[in-house]
Amino acid sequence: MSNSVPILDIKNLSVEFRTRSGVVKALENVSLEVFRGEIVGIVGESGSGKSVSALTAMGILDPAGHVTAGSISLGGLDVLGASEAVLQTMRGQQASMIFQSPRTALNPIRTVGNQIGDVLHRHNMADRQHLREMVIRTLKTVRIPDPERRFDAYPFELSGGMCQRIMIAMALACSPELLIADEPTTGLDVTTQAAIMDLIRDLSRERNMATVLITHDLSMAADYCDKIIVMHAGHVVESGSSHDLFTSPRHPYTAKLMKATPNGGGSLDDIASIHGGLPDLRGLLPPCRFSGRCERHEAICDSGPLDAKEVSPNHFVNCQRPL
């Protein structure tokens, strides 16, 4: 198998935001790998650093954000060392990202066809004469009915689900190796959610892409992901196959998440009441950022830096006292 080299390989990544109210340690020592053909879910409460990880991987972190340690390799490209010009050609061509609230994620005063066309043209996938044709072909791949007519539509003329399909079409227009979907279905109704998720899964299987799915929704992660990474307050606390994680969670936080959402289903939004909230990411933080909320907390937890332990093959836990 060609699975030996990950498409996305983040190693020991730390990111800080310098804000007026202090330095926010948004990510610390985050590592993750995504291989071709697999769908990897990143789950965690709001503010746990999921989006920051994705944006850093794409090289489009907010200027206030600084990478203080670590490395990112994307399709062999050193993202943190590459020039902006190189990163620009990488984006959209080797790696694409789709976002939540697709309606605002599209330019409101440009037709959707032209927006997809811009991306195709940028990456030299089509010359001006064949652009329209190419865009329509792209629209067909995301199962948009009547693509010829949709080409000239503006985002406000389309439903949220339709806009998300446009976003997916745009992201996949240049056949990237990596697709990052950051809460792609938030704000859509349930049936549309399923349709969009099915579409993403089918396309990533068809094209043998590496796919990252960021979500609040545990049941969605269980349904669609091969591997799951659980994040908490800027740390990866546990990672492993969906099956392992759901049947035998080893980190107390993961276990809590599972328990708080019966049958491993439901959304993290409803369970923000796990004892306490996320710690303040400014200032001094304990080695284990979950310690303040953890019932198993003991002196050893504060003793030294945390390292990922492989508790079973490909199942990693960042905890001194795993379950």
């Binding site: 489009i60 050609t89 990202m97 976002f99 940028r122 990456h123």
Partner: protein, 342 residues
């Protein structure tokens, strides 16, 4: 089908303007009558007797009832007659036709200058917050609002005409050694070009530069501030992140995506700024002896020259309506969403 929709919207705006113009005609009529001072007394002079004042009043039609006066005014207006200015003795229409282009030409050049400086400055400041360009933008904005027009005007005359001697004397639209070009548009620069007279064109332009910059500096501030603010806001929106995540070039992101969206609030400000300019013309016209519509209006106002004041206000009102219409049209062209809510 879409094109037709837009035409319909534009036509709708046009018809909406008619009632406002009628309203303006009525209001100016009443307001001019409410001005302090009696034109008959003024024109009769200090040595006038009660009888001669009365005669003048009758000859001006001021002895009739308000309603009658309005009827006469309105029916004259309908036939394109704006009356005669009692202070200059010329028909108001003629005065306006001569003076309006002078003011407009100046205002347009000032606007061009203002846009040419404020937009690039605002965009540069927004793309590099807290850099030196941003600081420069801040300084310009502060200076622009705090320096009074007459001061910048006088200062520039002093510096560029008196000290450096590189600007022509601030004495109107054209140095007396030149003949004004044959009138087509009333804009000297354009008329001179149409006439193929480059020399006069240059002379007319050089007369305009100082007053246009003076006027432009005044409007630089709101325009630069709005450009910066609108660009900052658009640049932080979701679709810009999408554009960047798709690898679009910086220039595409900045102009095709960000600037076109920022254009909408900028346009609104542009309309306001233009109105400002027409209003603040008076001071600039005084400093540069510009034979424009502003100085005409002030003089007419002082002597309660009803016909002239009414003509001026009407001309301004129509200008505003046209201006707003133009902005509306550009809006509908830039923003596909316009017209759907209304």
């Amino acid at each position: 089908m879409k094109r037709n929709d837009k035409l319909r919207i534009i036509f709708g705006r046009l018809t909406q303007a008619i009632p406002s113009i009628i309203g303006i005609i009525i209001v100016t009529f009443i307001l001019t009558r409410a001005l302090p001072g009696d034109p008959a007394v003024y024109f009769a002079g200090p040595a006038a007797t009660e009888k001669s004042i009365q005669e003048i009043r009758t000859s001006l039609g001021l002895d009739k009832s308000m309603l009658e006066q309005f009827w006469i005014y309105a029916s004259n207006l309908a036939s394109g007659d704006l009356g005669v200015s009692v202070s200059t003795g010329l028909s108001v229409k003629e005065e306006l036709i001569r003076r309006l282009p002078a003011s407009l030409e100046l205002t347009f050049l000032a606007l061009l200058f203002s846009i040419g400086v404020a937009l690039p400055l605002g965009i540069a400041a927004a793309t590099r917050p807290n850099s030196w360009v941003d600081q420069l933008c801040r300084i310009v904005v502060t200076a622009g609002v705090s320096l009074p027009v007459f001061f910048t005007g006088l200062f520039m005359v002093y510096l560029f005409y008196y000290i450096l001697g590189i600007a022509p004397a601030p004495l109107g639209r054209l140095d007396i050694i030149y003949l004004s070009p044959p009138s087509v548009t009333g804009f000297y620069t354009i008329d001179a070009l149409l006439d193929g007279d480059i020399e006069t064109f240059g002379a007319a332009l050089s007369q305009m530069i100082l007053p246009a910059i003076t006027l432009g500096i005044f409007t630089l501030a709101p325009l630069a501030r709005m450009t910066r603010g609108a660009m900052l806001q658009v640049l932080s929106s979701d679709f810009i992140r999408t554009a960047r995540a798709s690898g679009l070039k910086r220039s595409t992101v900045l102009y095709t995506y960000a600037f076109r969206n920022a254009l909408l609030p900028i346009l609104t400000t542009l309309g306001m700024v233009f109105s400002f300019m027409l209003g603040s013309n008076v001071l600039v016209e005084k400093v540069f002896a510009w034979p424009g519509i502003g100085s005409f209006a002030i003089e007419a106002l002082i002597v309660s020259d009803y016909a002239a004041v009414q003509g001026f206000v009407l001309a301004m009102a129509i200008l505003y309506v046209l201006l707003n219409l133009t902005i509306d049209i550009i809006y509908t062209l830039v923003d596909p969403r316009v017209g759907l809510e209304s």
